[in-house]
């Protein structure tokens, strides 16, 4: 599985959304992406990509698209 496939799968499974909706997905735009869902998703990404995301980046992680930029900081190319 490629990195982008793993990334997409995390969002799809974390928030029960369809893959074609991902580009418009942002924090609190769907029921599952609340603060608890956010931390679960971050924990999942950390596990999958073997990284540790800093608190400031967790707070900045406001959308699916923004996540590309943040993961790049941790050496994860999507």
């Amino acid at each position: 599985m490629t990195n982008i496939e793993k990334y997409n799968q995390t969002f799809v499974s974390s928030f029960s959304v369809k893959e074609e909706k991902l580009l418009t997905l942002s924090y609190q735009s769907v029921d599952g992406w609340d603060s608890i869902g956010h931390m679960r998703m971050i924990a999942e990404l950390e596990e999958i990509f073997d990284i540790m995301i800093e608190t400031n980046d967790i707070l900045d992680f406001s959308s699916y698209v923004k996540g590309f930029e943040i993961l790049k900081k941790y050496g994860v190319a999507l």
Binding site: I36, M39, R40, I42, A43, E44, E46, E47, M52, T55
Partner: protein, 252 residues
């Protein structure tokens, strides 16, 4: 009386400040009760290595020493990486490391205020943030924070130390509330005067008779604090969260 009933068999704990005082007693009690432990201390020493080797052999548990200075965030992150890389389920985090400070409010220096808050509050706050992510992933976890009766009673000379411990108590209660849906519980132990090096920062008149008096008007033994930490880490306290347990013999 130390509890040695294997109450923590199969559990893995992370304990900070294990090289002396209450942290050392908790490490000893957890090992005696069958827990594997990531034992965090500031610096490596032959004495500590000998101590954990003895515990490992005596109780047939795994004790992994980890080294970081509470004020060094890079060292802390490195330790979190080591814990994460172990792939072990972290059942219990005991935030114990801390420093004492006793000074009248008007004689409390700002650099000491910052130092006490860095070690006693900021470090456990950040460390807990890191480890809670592992617990969220597991959908279970147990956080025990060693605070102090000074954080509740607001004694003279404790405006800084007591405030740092009061902050820990608040943090504990908020974690218990915010993360109960993740199966994570959080409690705090508030020791009163306890027979540790921290007593050295107190005036002599505050130090009671530490002899083995049969009454409760005495200084606590570190093992008595550790017994409560065993209870809170065990399934005996499975439905207890958001609480602060005073271990002070009723002495105020």
């Amino acid at each position: 009386m130390a509890l040695h009933c294997k109450l923590l068999s199969g559990k893995t704990a992370v304990i900070t400040g294990c090289n002396r005082g209450i942290g050392k007693a908790i490490l000893e009690s957890y090992a005696a009760n069958g827990a594997d432990v990531f034992a965090c201390v500031r610096k490596e020493s032959a004495q500590f290595t000998k101590f954990i080797n003895r515990l490992t052999e005596k109780h047939a548990v795994n004790i992994i020493p980890l080294y970081f200075d509470a004020r060094n965030m890079d060292e802390m992150k490195n330790v979190v990486h080591q814990i994460k890389d172990s792939k072990k389920k972290i059942d219990v985090l005991v935030n114990n490391a801390g420093i004492g400070y006793n000074a009248l409010f008007q004689m409390s220096a700002l650099d000491k205020v910052k130092e006490v808050f860095d070690v006693n509050f900021i470090a456990p706050f950040v460390f807990t943030q890191y480890l809670i992510k592992l617990m969220v992933k597991q959908k279970s976890g147990n956080i025990i924070t060693i605070s102090s009766t000074a954080g509740i009673d607001c004694n003279d000379g404790k405006s800084v130390y007591g405030a740092s411990k009061a902050a820990l108590i608040c943090m504990t209660k908020v974690i218990a509330s915010e993360l109960k849906s993740e199966g994570i519980r959080a409690n705090s132990i508030a020791p009163g005067l306890t027979d540790t090096d921290m007593l050295l920062c107190l005036p002599k008149e505050f130090i009671l008779d530490a002899s083995s008096s049969p009454d409760l008007n005495r200084i606590a033994k570190p093992s008595e604090i550790a017994d409560t930490a065993v209870f809170l880490a065990s399934e005996l306290s499975a439905h207890i969260s958001g609480q602060v347990i005073r271990v002070d013999g009723g002495v105020k």
